[in-house]
Structure formats: C-alpha cells, structure tokens
C-alpha cells in the first residue's frame, strides 16, 4: 500500500514538473527511483532506459519497467497513468486558454528561467548515469562513438542503442 502511494506520488510529481519532454522525465525519475526508494538499482534503471528507447512510442514508457519492478502489473499501469495524467489534464485545460497564456509575460519569463535549469538537470542526471555506465576505457570509447554517430551523422537513436548492445555482446 505504501509502495502504491509512493509510486503514484512520485510519477505524478515528475509528470507535473518535467518541462521539456520525455528525456527530461527520465532524468527526473532517477533521483526517486534509484536513490530515494531504491525500486531499481542504477544499473537496472540504465537498462530500463535502453529498453524504453528500443520500443516505439515515447521514452517515458520506461515507467512501465519501474512500476513493474516495484509492484508488478498493477505498478506498471499505475506508474504509466500517473506520469501521463498531469500533462494530459494540463494540455486540455491550458489548450482552452491558449491565447491568453501565450501572451502572458510572467509565464513567458517563468519558462525562460526553467528551460536552462532543465538542461542542467539533464546534464546532472547524465553525470550520475555516466558514473555507473562508463566503467572502463571501452565503455567510454563506445559512448563517444555513439554520441558522434547521433550528433555528427544523425544516426537514428534506436539504431545506435541496438548497435551498442550488439557491440557490447561481442566485445565487452
């Protein structure tokens, strides 16, 4: 019961505060999922993100993994629902007021402050993920190659994840 409430609260909170899209949520969830509640080890969380990336649809589908590990099938449904609900409701309510909201300078200024902070939060989560993922020289090199492939050559991220898994299976 406690776990259920914690799941609902955690995923709802992240769903309501992760401005900027799916990857932001992944970065936000890490704090609670790994550190606060220990539903997943950091290793498992990283693997869950990779699985979320190779499945179609939004990356926050990673929530299904977390929910399942914490509380089985019910947990996966609850986690996914709770993380989607805030933006679902906000979209429709704000959508009804769209014109006014777009012009409000206070809201614009708020978002202008939030957007660099979100980048900082992603970078921070990236650092802690890197600390446990990049354990030796080959893993560092592989990450660099992946990054180069995505940024420089615009390789599709699904392809990068699959290729990295195969390279890992053969060489690491």
């Amino acid at each position: 019961m406690t776990t259920l409430l914690q799941l609902i609260f955690t995923f709802f909170k992240v769903g309501a505060s992760a401005f900027g899209g799916g990857m932001v949520m992944i970065a936000f969830l890490e704090q609670d999922v790994v550190n606060t509640f220990g539903w997943l080890t950091r290793r498992e969380y990283i693997d869950a993100i990779a699985l979320g990336q190779v499945t179609p649809g939004p990356i926050i589908i990673t929530s299904v993994f977390v929910g399942y590990k914490a509380l089985g099938l019910l947990g996966s449904v609850v986690a996914m629902t709770a993380i989607c609900l805030p933006s679902f409701l906000l979209t429709i309510f704000v959508g009804q007021q769209l014109r006014r909201v777009r012009r409000n300078p206070t809201i614009q200024a708020f978002l202008k402050g939030v957007s660099p902070a979100v980048v900082g939060l992603i970078a921070g989560a990236g650092l802690s993920i890197a600390r446990s993922s990049l354990v030796d020289i080959p893993t560092v090199l592989l990450a660099a190659v992946c990054l180069g492939a995505i940024i420089r050559f615009k390789v599709d991220s699904v392809l990068v994840v699959v290729a990295a898994g195969l390279i890992g299976a053969v060489f690491l």
Binding site: G15, A16, S17, F19, G20, G21, M23, M25, I26, E44, D47, A48, I49, A50, L51, P56, P58, I61, S76, C84, P86, S87, T91, I92, G95, L98, Q108, A109, F110, L111, K112, G113, P116, A117, V118, V119, G120, I122, A123, G124, G126, I129, S132, S133, T139, A143, A144, L147, A149, I150, I151, S157, V160, A164, G165, L166, I167, G168, A169, L172
Partner: protein
Amino acid sequence: MRERVEEAQAAGAAMATPTLWQLALVFCKVGGTGFGGAMPMLAMIQSEVVAKRHWVNQDLFGEAVLLGQVLPGPVAIDAAAYIGYRLRGWPGAIVGTVAFILPSFLLMLALTVLYLQYGQLPQLAGALKGLGSAVVALVAMAAYRMGKPAVKDKRSLVILLGAMAALLLQVNIVLIIALAGLVGIGLYRSQLAALPQDAGQAGKGARS
C-alpha cells in the same frame, strides 16, 4: 467514408470528424511504429491527421505542438491528447492518448518480464554494458540539443549550472524547477512585458 471525406475536401467543406474507433486506430498506429523520439512521432501524427485524413488543420496541429513543448510531459502524448480533445471532447482525448500509449506499453511490459527473468545471465552482461554506453550518449545528446536554444546568455548559463549543482546535491527537483522559474520571472519579466506581443511570441517559438 474515405470517398465522402474526399468529396468534402473537393467541395472545400469543413474538416471531417472521425469516430472514436478511427481515432483509436490512427493513434495506435503512430504509437506502435513511432521510433526515434518526439519529433519523428509528431511528424507521423501530422501526416496522419492533417495531411492524409484532414481531421484537423495545420493551425490546430501547431497549437498541439506548442502545448506539448510548453507544458511538462512528452510532446507527442500532449499532442495526442489535445487533438483527441478537439475532435471528440473528453472521450476523444482519453481514447487518443490511451491508444497512443498502448502498443509501446504492451511491448515494454513483455521486455520487462524478459529482462527480470534473464537479465542476470552472464551472456547478456556485455550487451547491457554496451547499452549503458548508448544511454549516456542519448542523455548527453538530449542535454546538448536542448541546451543550444535554452542557453542564450551568461544568466541562463548560471541557471543551468546552478540547477545541475543542486541536483547533484540531491535538492528536490520540483523545488529546483520552481526556483528557476522564479529567477526567470525576476530576470526577464519586465523585459518581456515591454516587448510588443508578437516579438515575445517569436522568442518562444525557438524553445525546443
């Protein structure tokens, strides 16, 4: 049905309104085949509901994307919810969103069960190590791609570094976001209020 839609277009009549079932099918298709993040998925939604079926016009689609970008949460889910809502009210919003999520939900559930069963096998250790490297690259890329439009001056760089330090010190994330927004109001509000409305909106369009 399709003939009628085409006739209506030929006559320049209003947009066609889909049934809930048609709505479910289209969003299910996008959710089940949309790889590669938010932008490719938005492009698929656009081609299905605007270009191919003429359920909504480009303006309304643009509103959906704007909402998705400004509000928390995944852009594509926000877009599915908003388009569903504008087409068929609350039932449309629910059906559109659930249909969009369902395929990847089921697939992810299956992968999770398999992982928890077999993830500890030594044969998989190398593959998982490789996946870990790829995830680092994905997160770094997300920060880089969002950082370019978000960091325009020294002040925003300070906000970025402050937020990052706060996260590493385990400060609550909602608190970090709220503080950053208040700092933004302090720094930019008077400046934005002084701008003519159109210029303020142009600035927002650059947010990724």
